[in-house]
């Protein structure tokens, strides 16, 4: 069943127009978004998260229309290419940040945060500060922080691109498994076709703010037209 429905989204930002037809994401599925630089991938994520105003269109997440809500009320979590961890906070505090905002009792939020430390295989880092972590460790913390709040939609803006190959491979598997197990919906923006192939079920290819292709990963792999091929090879 489709849990996230994005319909007729239009964004106008400093002369750049993003126009998208309807898209949907099922529970536990990941929608991949590809396209050249400046095609509107990050603008799409920022619009869904509420940092860029919509000109028109609706965003329905698990039955709730969120497009008129302020970003802090949308229940959409974000992960960027850089981890952007909160300074002066330990790994455990970073992961429990969103849980604390939900008003959970200290014991409960610590328990949930420790579960996520274990899922991300970073238990030994729980008392370390942000600047003491390597790039891969910091990105795991950023993913745990975004997923621990248990929001229905997770937005991933090139989260693997700054990592080296073995780390990338491990994290791709982990993200796919965690999204599937939790029943979240996720949108993954990437330049790398391997990210899309390994993590996503569907893919949207953007070019100059418009949808060039929108289909399942399997379908696009079997029948790639020339344009899609060119973008994927870019």
């Amino acid at each position: 069943m489709n849990q996230v429905l994005i319909e007729n989204l239009q964004v106008n930002r400093a002369g750049f127009n993003l126009n998208l037809p309807s898209m949907s994401i099922g529970s536990g599925d990941v929608l991949g978004v590809m396209g050249q630089s400046g095609s509107g991938k990050s603008t799409l994520l920022q619009a869904i998260a509420g940092f860029v105003p919509l000109k028109s269109g609706t965003i329905n997440v698990f039955g709730n229309e969120i497009s008129r809500l302020s970003p802090e009320k949308r229940k959409v979590s974000l992960v960027f290419q850089k981890p952007w961890l909160f300074e002066n906070q330990t790994v455990l505090e970073n992961i429990s940040f969103g849980l604390k905002l939900q008003g959970l009792p200290k014991k409960e939020l610590q328990k949930i945060a420790e579960e996520w430390l274990s899922k991300m295989e970073i238990e030994e880092l729980k008392d370390r500060r942000a600047w003491e972590l390597s790039g891969g460790q910091a990105q795991r913390v950023a993913l745990a922080r975004a997923m621990a709040v248990n929001f229905p939609l997770l937005l991933l803006d090139e989260p693997f691109s700054a990592l080296d190959s073995p780390l990338k491979k491990g994290l791709r598997k982990l993200v796919k498994q965690l999204v599937r197990d939790s029943g979240f919906c996720a949108i993954l923006v990437s330049h790398d076709w391997r990210d899309i192939e390994e993590v996503c079920n569907k893919v949207l290819i953007l070019g100059d703010g418009k949808s060039l292709a929108y289909d399942t990963v399997r379908e696009l792999k079997q029948n790639p037209n020339q344009l899609v091929k060119a973008i994927c090879e870019d």
Binding site: A49, F86, W131
Partner: protein, 518 residues
Amino acid sequence: MDIDFKSGAEVSYLFFVPTFLFLGFFFLIPLGNLLVLGFQGFSESIFQDPYLIYVIQFTYGQAFLSALFSVLLGFFFAFLIKEWKIFGGKVLWRFGLLCSSLPSIIVALGILGSWGKQTTVFGWKGLLLGHVFLNFAIPLRLIGNALTDRERTSELTALSLGMSRWRVFWKITLSSLQPSVVSSWILAFLYSSTSLFIVLFLGGGPRFTTLEVALYEAIKLNLDNGRAIQIALLQAGVGAVLFFFYLRLQKKRKLESESSDLQFFAPKNDWMRRMGGVFLWSLAGLALGFPLISIFIDGVGDWSFLDWSDLLEAGLTTFGIALAVVVLSVLIVYPYLHYLYQVKSERETSSWIWLIAIPQFFSSLVVALALSVFFPVVREMSWLSCLAVISTQTVFVIPLIQFPLREGFLRLSRERNWIAQSLGATGWQRWFWVELPFMRRSLILSALIGFGFSMGEVISILLFSPSGIKTLAMNIFQSMSRYRFQEARATTVILLFSMITLFGITGYLEDRDESSPH
């Protein structure tokens, strides 16, 4: 709750209000008024006064040379500290920054007590020594930071393709450093052309008078506000032109998030690096250390002649004014930068920085004159003159503290704020839990810079309250004016000790700041 993006943006315009109100009321409107008065009373006779023509030529001639020597020395120091990584480089870096933060009156006293005892320093020698001492840290910091933050891929590629290190430096590195070299020259030129005490105490006569001294004479000695306004108009014109070029260069400024430790220009032999270090330390010792040490040697001794209750009062007043200046300037700059860096786009941010950068392009005397002409009542009421001193000092602290705060906001980045917001944090929660802990070091650094400036500032006190307000720096000025150099040196030791302590704390905080790459 539904939100309307437009009304949200309108509410956040409130962050602009304190800055516009303060700088508008205490800087832009009084300065505009002064310029209008200057234009109204402008007569070409000012350019027919041969003495004034000579003063203009001398002012900008000495400023050109002072800026040139400051940039050459600053570049040399920055290169050896950052690229050669000479021993004790960090200490030398801090020492250079401390020197530039010293009140010019202390520098004049130090040069008189050191080089002044060996040879005659009055004239060109004294002016150049004083201005280079005070200004060489501007290129040191700007060029040094540009060397650290520069993008090194092109250099690496050129070297791997067989280009010699000298050609890489000449063709690639130097061109990437160009904006910081020109910016630092502009600032050093400006500060050298508007310095007062160096010229007053080291110039040595009418042949070495600058526009700032002529302005001081017109205001304080001849009580000729008309002539003062004409001179201020000339200075403001030059300041405005320099500000225009400086702002254009600032738009090219960016902070590389990933700095690299690659060293392309370090000497292959270790002995060369050591020799470079010895040379730099000797140069710093002679040019910077010698004047400071002489103050300590001459100043520490028999202090029985000091009036300690008077000094305590001056110390407390200095601290009180500095505290008020720091609190006020942080309250004005912080919300403004928060709004620019967290709400506005990068393009809009760079086009609004001018407001908090502009005061540094006008001399303290020009701003103080503008305020006293616009609010003539301030000199008549002591509590108002105290407010005028605090306001004038705040106008000058604002452009100084915007540097560390801007760097803090650049490192904070709006993505971090977005993440907190997407996790459910409201505006206040984001500020308290994410922004404030991150900005803490920048805030402390800004406060220390503000304290340093205010503790050594004399001009605003001299103009608004010649006898009513007593500060440590004012004590030094009065002692020097009465040729009581021993008393001046003893007070300077106390002021220097407090400033060195402040800089020790600043250095420690900067070190901690560098250790957080995320």
